[in-house]
Every structure is written in C-alpha cells, then in structure tokens.
C-alpha cells in the first residue's frame, strides 16, 4: 500500500509557475500601456510646445462671441463665455435626446405591437417599416428629413397658422410663451397638491382592492385630477397666466416659443430610426412570454387589462427593458450627428465652433467625450438597477 516517497522534482522554474507568468505578463501589458501613454503625452507636449499652441482650460472663461440658434439657458452672444457654450450644448443634447426618446418609445411600442397584430396589413406594414428604416444610415436619414422638412414648410409670411397662436414655417414651429404673473404660484401648488393627492388615492385604491376586491379606475380618475386641479385653480385665481403670442414682425416672427427645424428634423430622424430597434425589442419581449401564460390567465377568467398588467407585461418588460435602454444610449450618441445639419448640440458647438475658434483640440474633444461617457455610465447604472429589480427568482 505504499510506494517509498521519492524526492519530488520540485525545482520549480520561476518562469514556469503560472502565477509568475501572469504577473510578468500583466506587468508587461501595463508597462506597454504606460509607455504608450507616456510616448503620446511626451510627443503631444513637445508638439504643443514647438508650435506655440496654448493649453489648459483657461479658454473656458473667454467670451465666445458668436450666436447660437437655440439656447435653453440665458446666453448672450456678446458676453457669455465658452463654459456657457458648453452648458448650452449639453442641454441641447439632452433636449433633443429627451424629445426623441419620448417619441421613439411610443412609436417603437406601436410598431412592435403592430408586428404582432393579427391584422395582416398592420403586421406587414410594420415589418416594412422596420426593414426599411433600420437599414439606412442614420446620418442619411437626418440629412434627408432635414431637407424634406425645410422644403415642405412655407416661408414665415405664408406660415401655416393654427388658432392664430401656433404657427408652422421653415423657421420652426412657433407657439405662445406662457408668462407667469403674480398668482401663478398657486397653479404650481395646485399641481403639486394634486400629484400628492393622487399618490395617496392610488394607495387607497390598492388597499380597497385588497380589502374588498373592488377595483377603482385610478388611471382615469388620477389623470383627471392632475389635469383638472391646475385648470380649476387657474380660473379661480383669476387667470394669472397670460401668453406671449408670436407675431410676424418684419420678415420674422417675434416672441413666443419656437422649435427650430433642426430640432424637429433631428428628433424626427432619431425617433424613426431608433424606433425600429425598439420595435424589435418589444416584439421579442412579447413573444418571449409563452402562449400558455395567456391561456392560463384566460382560463382563470381574468379580464384583458388585468392579464396585460399582471401577467404579460411583468414578464415581457423584463426582456424588453435592457435592450431598449441600450437603444436610448445609442440615440444619445447618435444625436451627435446633428453637426451635419447645424443643430447646436455639444458636438456642433463645442467640438465644432469652439474648437475652431480656440484651437485646443485635445481639451475640447476630451471634454466632449467625457459628457457622453457620463451619460453612458448613468444609463448603465440605471440598467443594472433595473435588471436586479426585475430578475425572476429561481431561474
């Protein structure tokens, strides 16, 4: 039962130990990367030095001195600085992304459901939609829609007018700007109160359902309260909001709010393009719920809306949401293509105009990239959180 123990061949060669190998390899890799970084940085500084290019972020405090066609925060072309330009760009990116995300979600949802429709035409048209717009580069679509939008709209003097307060022309879509007067605070208060009220109403409705099984139409009632309360207060408080109606003065409209055509075209193109991906995600999500689930719910006698809310959606959303959020991120990144049609978002304003006026390419491009990285980090954190929340147990 025993072999005499031989002296083990334990002269471990240093390089044959996998641990050592891993360490050596990693040190080499790290060294290579550090060297590369050093080499680039070194060249960069040498080049910058040799060519007398300024460095640092002091340019952010200089006055920019150019006009921007859409600014969400106060911006004065004679006195605002480049840091303000940066902020304007970021906000404009967020604005167009937000609008596009809103519409692409609705459109994608409709098309995705449409693809599963038992109406032959709806299903086929949805498919054609997806296969068409998904296979055309987004840049081409942006250029195309911009040209179409501009070509289709009339000049300011021939504006299409709605209710005498809303106007559509090739300078954009104009609408009245609300002007808050003294008592307008009450309206805001009413809105907030209504929201709080509806929140408690919803809790009460759930409790009542738990206690008695009676359903309460919380969506209709809640929606009505949130809508009606501010309106009511508006009249009670003596109509404290007036509006500044856009007016044709000279060759342009003055006053009011305006949505510029670049924003329209960009939001439109982004929505249409991204919706194809969202539609596919929605379809995959709904198809991922086995047919038996619906049958089982039916055989329990559940109503259609309860089936949708309690059985189908919770399972489908789990599959739908991650790809959809990734598409949101893609949409934000694609909004950078606005530079082709001159919508003033971060890339146009900062990597474009500012870069050219200031000439500090490295700082400016890094700052631009940092903005997008920040977006993507926030979105992936959100995604992880949602994934963790929606996980089905026991899989």
């Amino acid at each position: 039962m025993s072999n005499p123990p031989n002296t083990p061949t334990s002269s471990v060669s240093f390089f044959n130990n996998p641990k050592n190998r891993a360490i050596i390899f990693q040190v080499l890799a790290l060294g290579f990367v550090v060297f590369l970084a050093y080499y680039f940085a070194n060249n960069m500084f040498a080049n910058i030095e040799a060519r007398g290019i300024e460095t640092g972020f002091s340019f952010l405090d200089q006055v920019a001195g150019f006009g921007i066609s859409q600014t969400l925060v106060a911006y004065d072309d004679g006195s605002s600085t480049y840091s303000r330009v940066f902020l304007v760009g970021v906000l404009n990116t967020l604005l167009v992304s937000g609008i596009a995300i809103f519409f692409t979600t609705i459109l994608g949802l409709l098309i995705g459901i449409g693809r599963l429709s038992n109406n032959f035409l709806v299903a086929k048209l949805s498919m054609v939609y997806v296969e068409t717009f998904r296979n055309i580069p987004i840049l081409l679509q942006i250029l195309f829609w911009y040209n179409v939008v501009l070509a289709a709209l009339p000049s300011p003097r021939q504006s299409l007018s709605y209710f005498g307060e809303y106007f559509l022309n090739n300078r954009g879509f104009l609408m009245p700007r609300p002007i808050m007067e003294d008592n307008s605070g009450y309206i805001l208060a009413a809105l907030i109160l209504a929201c709080i009220g509806v929140f408690f109403l919803a809790r009460w409705a759930i409790k009542r359902h738990d206690d008695t099984g009676e359903e309460f139409p919380i969506f209709t009632v809640g929606g009505a309260i949130i809508l009606l309360a501010p309106v009511l207060v508006y009249f009670v408080a003596g109509q404290p909001i007036s509006s500044e109606i856009p007016e044709l003065k000279g060759f342009n409209f003055k006053g009011g709010w305006v949505i510029i055509p670049e924003l329209l075209a960009l939001a439109f193109a982004l929505s249409i393009y991204t919706a194809t991906y969202i539609a596919e995600a929605v379809r995959a999500g709904i198809e991922s719920v086995p047919k038996g689930q619906k049958e089982a719910a039916n055989s329990l006698g559940l109503k259609e809306h309860v089936i949708l809310r309690k059985v189908i959606l919770p399972q489908a959303l789990r599959v739908i949401i991650p790809p959809v959020i990734n598409q949101y991120l893609n949409l934000v990144k694609n909004s950078s293509l606005a530079t082709a049609i001159g919508y003033p978002e971060i890339v146009t304003l900062f990597s474009g105009t500012t870069l050219n006026q200031v000439g500090q390419a490295i700082e400016i491009i890094l700052m631009t990239m940092a903005v997008y990285l920040l977006f993507s980090i926030v979105i992936s954190l959100l995604l992880n959180w949602i994934n963790a929340k929606m996980e089905i147990k026991g899989r």
Partner: protein
Amino acid sequence: MIRMENVNKWYGDFHVLKDVNLNVKKGEKVVICGPSGSGKSTTIRCLNHLEKFQQGKIFIGETELIEDVKIVRHIRSKVGMVFQHFNLFPHLSVLENLVIAPTWVHKKPRKEAIETAMYYLDRVKISDQANKYPNQLSGGQQQRVAVARCLCFNPEIMLFDEPTSALDPEMVSEVLDVMVELADEGITMICVTHEMGFAKKVADRVIFMDGGQIIEENEPHTFFEQPESDRLKLFLDQILSH
C-alpha cells in the same frame, strides 16, 4: 352540466372536430383518451373558450357558450383548467399565483383570498412552499400549485389536459393522488390522460377519440376489457404493450 351538441371545428381546411356530442352530468368523471392529434385537447379547450368552434352548441350548466365577453368570463369562472405544462406565472410567488384570480375576478378581499389559498395549498400538501417562486419547485410541486390555483375559485368543473405527461415517473403517482382525492369530493371532471390506472380507478366513463371524433365511449371496465371498435383495440394494444 356540460353538453356539446354536434360541435364542429376547422383549422383552415383541416377538420379537427367532427360532430362531437358529449354529455357530462354533475359530479361525473370522464376520461378522454386517444392517439396524438385526435382532437382531445381541442375538445376540452373548446369548453372554456380557449378555442372557438364554427358549428354546434356548447352548454355549461344552463348557459350557452357564445362569443360574448361577459358570458365567456362567467363560464370560465365555473370551469378550472390544469395544463400539461402547468403554466404557472413565473414572476409571482406561489401564493400570488393562487390569489390573483379570486381578487381580480371574484372581487374577494385579499385577506380572504389568502386564507382560501392557504387552505388549498394545505390540501395539496405544499403549504410550506407558499412564498417560493414556481421555478424553485419540482415538477410535481408545480402541478399541485396549478391544481390549487384552480380550486381557489371553487369551480364546478375541472378540466385536465394530460396533467401528468410532463412529469417524472415518481411525480405521476403523487399528482394522481391529488386528482383522485378531488374526484372523491364530487367535483365534475374531464381529464385527458393516458394513465389507465387512473381511468379505471375514478372514471365513470372513458371516451376514445380518433380523427377528431368520438369513436367509442363506455364505463371503464367494459372499455378496457371489451373494446368494440377495431381502432380502440389497436390503441389499447399499443399502450398496454408499452
């Protein structure tokens, strides 16, 4: 309790159910068997309107089954169905699976619904699993949950579509036990199954379907011992030699 009168159904041009006539009295237990594709599932799925049919009439109790949302829902609340793959809701705990129909369909208070649910879970002997999720249970346990889910709204009729065929052999007898127990309580029951032991033990009547029609029906003893039609003989040969 259940009356099917000359029910005909087509899938496109394919004639699946041919003049099916079936009468089941209150408390009766009927087993349906037959080769694969003979229309057994389709027949019982017609009974709670999971499938539409094109000709004929079906009555559940006094009510005729017509395409009307209210009536369909009313009938479904009287008819419980247990599927081959159980179709539990994987995102809900066992308890929630049981509570969902009573609270949303029968407007029961949640507390009451939970009590009932626990009662039935107890009856199928898995009340200790109430807070687990379906995927954490074995096949046999899942099947019991499915049975309990139906029982929760106290149906007058239970339909079973091959409730044991997806189970490991050990589980089969477990589930059959539950069904036998149910049968003893006098509930009306239609069961598609090939478990001959079960048929012999509890069925009042066994029905043999083939090619979309009822070929032969009889009480179990005669059915198995003295089959009349050739097709049934052939079929019994096959499953018994097995």
